[in-house]
């Protein structure tokens, strides 16, 4: 049952991913991308990471995609006038497919090493995923976390400067 559910979600994710790169209208691409993000959020839930699923939906599907759709509408971008040259598409697709084959080859041949940590579904159940993430962020990863805030501040300032009327 679970495997079947996984396959359905995976199929939706891949198909909407394909739609992202095939749709001529950027709005359609954006909506397909949101669909993909939801699928990934589903995977997160299946992987015992409910907090990640929540922020996947809130930050990605919510904030970022809304911003992208907003910009698309603001700029009133028409569909692409014509496709790129056939050979570019062909060459790019060939490269992508070849890369995929290589990745799959790695997956098939490579073995997993490393030792398991102490985290399992029971502990997550006991403490709650959010609390675990919070503890990790505010103890072990405090400095990167604070640096992230500076990164965001820089991004805000950069965005304001770039989007100002006259630069």
């Amino acid at each position: 049952m679970e495997t079947l559910f996984f396959f359905v979600v995976a199929a939706v994710a891949v198909i909407s991913g394909l739609l992202v790169i095939t749709c001529k209208n950027p709005i359609n691409s954006a909506l397909s991308l949101i669909m993909t993000f939801f699928c990934i959020a589903t995977f997160y839930v299946m992987l015992n990471a409910p907090f990640m699923a929540a922020i996947q939906v809130i930050v990605y599907a919510g904030a970022i995609m809304v911003l992208i759709v907003f910009v698309i509408m603001l700029l009133n971008i028409r569909s692409e006038a014509g496709r790129r040259g056939a050979h570019t598409t062909l060459f790019g697709s060939a490269l992508g497919i070849f890369g995929l084959i290589e990745l799959l080859y790695f997956l098939a041949k490579g073995g997993l090493t490393g030792s398991r940590g102490g985290l399992d579904a029971k502990i997550i159940e006991q403490f709650g995923h959010t609390e675990l993430i919070g503890r990790a962020l505010f103890t072990q990863f405090l400095l990167p976390f604070e640096i992230t805030s500076i990164l965001l501040l820089v991004a805000i300032i950069g965005a304001v400067i770039l989007a100002k009327k006259n630069i």
């Binding site: 679970e2 995976a10 994710a13 891949v14 991913g17 394909l18 992202v20 790169i21 691409s29 991308l33 993909t36 993000f37 990934i40 995977f43 997160y44 299946m46 992987l47 990471a49 907090f51 990640m52 996947q56 930050v59 990605y60 904030a63 970022i64 911003l67 992208i68 910009v71 700029l75 971008i77 692409e80 790129r84 570019t88 790019g92 697709s93 490269l95 992508g96 497919i97 995929l100 799959l104 997956l107 490393g114 940590g117 985290l119 399992d120 675990l132 993430i133 990790a136 962020l137 990863f141 990167p144 990164l151 965001l152 820089v154 991004a155 805000i156 950069g158 965005a159 770039l162 989007a163």
Partner: protein, 100 residues
């Protein structure tokens, strides 16, 4: 229990789709979305590994990737608006200022 490999294959597929999109599309915003798709494919790998190795570190990475993606979205979209104001287009074929 879904095997780890399943997730990795889905992730590889999404990543390749994103790559092809970046290489073949001309609309800068679509390219940008494809980049987001690639980032998400990687995130999925992280979370999958995190779950199967029983460690939170992978998820912390995902958290930071999302932060960077948010920052990237803000700056990248601002760049596109600025470019659009100059060229009335966000077609990357028009973006050839690298060659003077």
């Amino acid at each position: 229990m879904i095997p780890l490999h399943y997730y990795l294959v889905v992730s590889a597929l999404l990543f390749s789709i994103g790559t092809v999109g970046v290489l073949t599309r001309r609309n800068a915003i679509v390219i940008f979305m494809c980049v987001e798709l690639m980032l998400n494919a990687v995130n999925l790998t992280f979370v999958a590994f995190s779950n199967f190795l029983g460690s939170l570190d992978g998820q912390i990475f995902v958290f930071f990737v999302m932060t960077v993606a948010a920052a990237e979205a803000a700056v990248g979209l601002a760049l596109m608006i600025a470019f659009f104001k100059n060229r009335e287009s966000i077609d990357v074929e028009e973006m050839n200022l690298l060659k003077l």
